[in-house]
């Protein structure tokens, strides 16, 4: 399975900056791997979950649980393409659970970036997989201006929502560090979600 050739890839952090301004204050934003590293430099909302340490590929599953428990909030999951490939079944689970308040954004750079940009088994067409899994709204962007001008429509689309952002890998930059003890962060998040 091959994705269509992309003429351009944009800077992942620019895409996150756009998300930072577009998110609603009540949204939960989960980031993992490279998006987590960049997101931590932009925002420190009490509703952010920097999923570090993580279980490999499970940000989407964590997001589904939060979405089911908090149906009045939107849950935005910023995932890597390597992470997405490790848990493709979660897309079927999300669609099957009828979680209309989940938005999955996949930052597709084509490599395992945080381990040194090794190649993946193949370049998958993740949008086709998401459609096949049952996602209601599926998008694909390879231009930052297009992403920036469309982000509000993406976030407001009928859910569950899936979007691929074709971004350039940041080779040689270390992966994200944990921003603090996860157990303590879990306690603070529960408090924030209950208020």
């Amino acid at each position: 399975m091959s994705a269509p050739a992309k003429a351009t890839r944009f800077v992942a952090k620019d895409a996150l900056v756009a998300l930072h301004y577009a998110r609603d204050a009540r949204d939960v934003v989960i980031t993992t791997m490279s998006p987590a590293r960049d997101w931590m430099t932009l925002t420190q909302s009490p509703l952010d979950i920097v999923f570090v340490p993580s279980a490999m590929g499970h940000a989407t599953s964590l997001g589904l649980g939060l979405a089911l428990a908090q149906p009045d909030r939107r849950v935005i999951v910023c995932n890597g393409d390597g992470s997405m490939l490790m848990n493709l079944g979660s897309l079927v689970t999300i669609a099957g659970a009828g979680a209309t308040n989940v938005v999955v954004l996949v930052f597709q750079n084509g490599v395992y970036e945080v381990t040194g940009a090794q190649p993946m088994p193949a370049q998958a067409d993740l949008t086709a997989i998401a459609r096949g899994a049952g996602f209601q709204s599926v998008f694909e962007f390879s231009d930052i201006d297009e992403w920036t001008s469309s982000i509000n429509d993406v976030l407001a689309a009928r859910g569950p929502v899936f979007a691929v952002l074709h971004v350039a890998p940041d080779v040689g930059i270390p992966g994200p560090k944990s921003p603090g003890p996860a157990g303590e962060r879990a306690r603070r998040l529960r408090e924030a979600l209950s208020s």
Binding site: S54, A55, H58, L62, G65, L68, A69, S90, T93, A186
Partner: protein
């Protein structure tokens, strides 16, 4: 060994809101009764590792999940168990089917009997093994105690033929 009605009653007494599950031939028989209860929802996942992280999200969001899987899926779940129970320190409860414990007719020498309990110990999960119908009360007793202690607990249910 247990009916769906008995399991659903126990889960209701525990205040469970979501049962996150992959079925096997024993625990799968409980789904319809659980689903018939207004207080609980069944969340069907594609693979067991997912179940722990879905449960983590539910727990963080204020719900009261339980993971219900077979021991084979428990084996598959290792990285998620490590992350949810030990990194994020979430006291997720689970009910785990113990394949072939009561009969090895289908799978003689089933290695589930070799690895299930040592791996529960390895993951530092406080569990109770239920082997007879009169053990039903242990579900509420043990999982309530674990919840009060803010630690993960498991009920391991002996199963017959695979």
């Amino acid at each position: 060994m247990f009916s769906g009605d008995q399991i659903a009653d126990s889960l209701e007494r525990l205040g469970v809101t979501h049962v996150v599950t992959v079925p096997d031939s024993t625990i799968g028989q409980w789904q319809s009764e659980i689903e018939s209860r207004a207080t609980m929802k069944v969340v069907r996942v594609c693979r067991e590792g997912e179940a722990w992280e879905v449960a983590a999200g539910l727990e963080l969001g204020g719900a009261r999940p339980v993971v219900m899987i077979q021991c084979t899926g428990f084996f598959e779940s290792g990285d998620a168990i490590r992350n949810v129970l030990h990194d994020w320190k979430l006291p997720i409860a689970s009910i785990i089917g113990y394949r072939s414990y009561l009969s090895q007719e289908t799978l003689p020498g089933d290695t589930c009997l070799v690895f299930t309990e040592p791996l529960l110990d390895a993951w530092k999960i406080d569990y109770r093994l239920l082997t007879k119908p009169t053990d039903i009360g242990v579900i509420v007793e043990h999982l309530s105690a674990c919840r009060s202690a803010n630690k993960p607990g498991a009920i391991v249910v002996a199963e017959g033929k695979a």
